[in-house]
């Protein structure tokens, strides 16, 4: 049977068991849309902006672990998606993006809606392809899904010229397996390294586990829990790892890094053995590298060899899947006698007593932290929470105690404002039975507002928790601390009436100005099972995120709430990023 390129492409997507495609039509992809319309296995979600498609597919992938699929047209279609692709790339999210291209003979002629899609996306994808012949379609799709989902996952772009989607050929069997001589992601970790790591761990007196997004993406949560409980070590999690180990557990020290807890950062600072598990020593984690973990030896577990010894030199590097390495460590350490670390724990408990997440309530104004605590209470800690980027993101990370992986969805690496809403939509599509909340701010939400329309069309009821303080809060916070309170462009005048706005999109809007109205409003919102509810919550504009390690500071240089003096302030380099 002869099929055209578009039909072959859709057939390949079906063979890859794709159920949802987030996209937006345009000239170069019209044949593909025609083929999509003729089938009913794949549901297409028509977004309102291609960036929303990429974030939607990203949220979908983060929520259920399957690759997200995006379909956009050439030119502005793909350039609009670039922010979303870069977001997924920084956080290692499996995605396949299909972009239309102008017909092959027009490539390079500055044709209408032509951009060099593979050139533009090259530095923000795991890999990309430009299809040159109809016979390449099936193998390219197979490779794209293989590359996107194996090793360290990431987005893969397939650029397909329009003429190829209408050319016809005899269909061949879709390949079931794939072998690429140039791509063999390391999977099995070296036994020797595991043994060395077990030895070091057994002999450490002040160990700490530092788990990151690699535990979430690598589905290693079960093994991480078993290992952590078996060895009895304290564990801290990165912004990307939250929930992979239950944050309510007594061994959990919460998040570490720039806005991490006092106990997590001090434990890193005082540790003699740091085990990085699927985490990459990001600058928001380490602060000033010269002051980072001065007495520690590092065991670094990562599937991507290039992460090892990139920022921090590993004493024992282990290249492998977090899940397998943790299982191997469990097996190796089962009968090992460990050092007594009770003194270390009592030191940590002292740090914990500092209660670094405590904040002062004041009457007449809602504290943003209270909103998150109440969101936690009303959803019984079970909601999937997405966030945008800024202060609200940090408060959500600090005060919503995630107990499960894939419960917390945020743009950690790229820090993309506008991510939260479309990601929530994607997460709800992936997990229709779960409550999904999008914690956002008045700045971020306005970057992707148009997706409210998509959410009505496809009935993806999420609860938008808008912490409205009238400021770009994180910018304002830095200006307060480091720019002598010169608030350049961090105040947003002329905000819309978010309630009316939500209503005009066919959703429900509730404005909350008093703390006593907060809980009833949240309960009301989550009772609306079939509706998207926009909670516009007026919060204290002067509130800051604490603890904070200022740029250039080390883990022991923390600013704490209500205690604005900081250790070794003079050494802090405010010129750092």
């Amino acid at each position: 049977m002869k099929l055209n390129g578009a039909e072959i492409l859709i057939d390949c997507l079906q063979k890859e068991e794709v159920e949802h495609v987030f996209g937006y039509p345009g000239g170069a992809v019209l044949h593909i849309y025609d083929a999509l319309e003729a089938q009913d296995k794949i549901t297409h979600i028509l977004v309102r902006h291609e960036q929303g498609a990429a974030h939607g597919a990203d949220g979908y992938a983060r929520a259920n672990g399957k690759p997200g699929v995006v379909l956009v047209t050439s030119g502005p279609g793909i350039t609009n998606a670039v922010t979303g692709i870069a977001t997924a790339h920084m956080d290692s999210i499996p995605m396949v993006i299909i972009s239309g291209q102008v017909p092959s003979p027009l490539i390079g002629m500055d044709a209408f809606q032509e951009v060099d899609a593979t050139g533009i996306t090259r530095s923000c994808v795991k890999h990309n392809f430009l299809i040159r012949d109809i016979s390449e379609i099936a193998m390219t799709v197979k490779k794209a899904f293989h590359i996107a989902t194996t090793g360290r996952p990431g987005p893969v772009v397939i650029d397909i010229p329009k003429d190829i989607t209408i050319a016809k050929m005899e269909v061949e069997e879709y390949p079931t397996t794939i072998e690429m001589r140039s791509y063999k992601p390391t999977i099995k970790a070296s036994d020797r390294q595991i043994k060395k790591a077990a030895e070091m761990l057994a002999n450490s007196k002040r160990p700490i586990l530092y788990a990151g997004g690699g535990c979430v993406i690598g589905n290693a949560s079960k093994e991480l829990r078993e290992f952590t409980r078996m060895v009895g070590f304290p564990i801290t999690q990165t912004l990307m790892g939250l929930g992979t180990y239950p944050m309510t557990d007594k061994q959990s020290l919460g998040m570490l890094g720039m806005h991490g807890t006092y106990e997590a950062n001090m434990a890193m600072h005082g540790s003699d053995c740091v085990v990085a598990i699927g985490s990459r020593f990001d600058d928001r984690i380490t602060g000033n590298l010269e002051k980072f973990c001065p007495t520690a030896k590092f065991i670094h577990i990562d599937i991507d060899p290039s992460q090892i010894s990139k920022n921090v030199v590993a004493h024992i590097p282990i290249v492998g899947q977090t899940k397998q390495v943790l299982q191997a460590l469990i097996d190796q350490m089962k009968d090992k006698k460990l050092e007594d670390i009770s003194k270390w724990w009592s030191q940590i408990e002292e740090w914990r007593k500092v209660d670094s997440l405590a904040y002062k309530k004041s009457s007449g104004v809602i504290k943003p932290q209270t909103v998150i605590e109440m969101l936690y209470e009303v959803t019984k800690g079970k909601a999937i929470v997405t966030s945008d980027v800024g202060q609200h993101q940090m408060w959500a990370a600090q005060y919503y105690l995630f107990d499960e992986p894939r419960q917390w969805i945020n743009s950690g690496g790229l820090g993309t404002m506008g991510f939260g809403l479309p990601a929530a939509m994607g997460a709800k599509l992936a997990m229709p039975d779960r409550d999904v909340a999008c914690v956002t701010g008045d700045g971020s939400i306005q970057m992707m507002l148009q997706e409210l329309s998509t959410m009505l069309q496809y009935s993806t009821p999420v609860k938008i928790i808008n912490l409205n303080n009238g400021y770009l809060g994180m910018v304002r916070q830095w200006q307060e601390f480091f720019y002598e309170k010169r608030y350049a462009m961090s105040y947003m005048d002329a905000l819309p009436d978010f309630v009316k706005l939500a209503e005009s999109y066919g959703h429900m809007g509730i404005r909350v100005e008093k703390e006593e109205d907060l809980k009833p409003a949240l309960i009301e919102a989550f009772n609306q099972k079939d509706r998207t509810v926009f909670l516009d919550i007026v919060t204290d504009p002067s509130e800051n995120v604490f603890p904070m390690i200022p740029a250039g500071g080390g883990h022991s240089d923390m600013l704490l709430a209500g205690r604005d003096e900081m250790v070794s302030k003079d050494e802090t380099d405010f010129n750092a990023v």
Binding site: T118, G119, N128, R132, S182, K310
Partner: protein, 161 residues
Amino acid sequence: MRHIISVILENEAGALSRVAGLFTQRGFNIESLTVAITNDPSLSRMTIVSSGSDRVLEQIVKQLNKLIEVVKVSDLTSQDHVERELLLAKISSNSKEGANIQELVEIFGCKVVDVTDKVYTIEVSGKSKKINAFLDAFDPASIIEVTRTGVTGISRGKKLI
């Protein structure tokens, strides 16, 4: 320290720009880069000369390996190897050195490949140092134009990349 890195990669469109892009994107230094097809027409071989600390070199090798189309990466500098570069230079025949060009050609073991009434075109191959030395033997004013291929290299004996 200077390093010569050999890369075997799929002979596909875009592969070169991925490698070049990687170097700019990550701020790696690149002194020269040569690329051509190998005896297996589906593979290309690239030779990159770069410099940096051991840690930077480790990152360069790892990041190159991470590129999907890269099959193999090897730092030639750490092994017994042969390296060569080719120079084509046009030298003015009116200059002082031009007068005894034959002598210099003999000393450096190179070839005059073209002669006109005003210009000698000379081919030199060897290590980059030899090429530098050859060029240093002339007054800069007498060197009209040069083109260098950049370094290519291969390990000695049985050892393959």
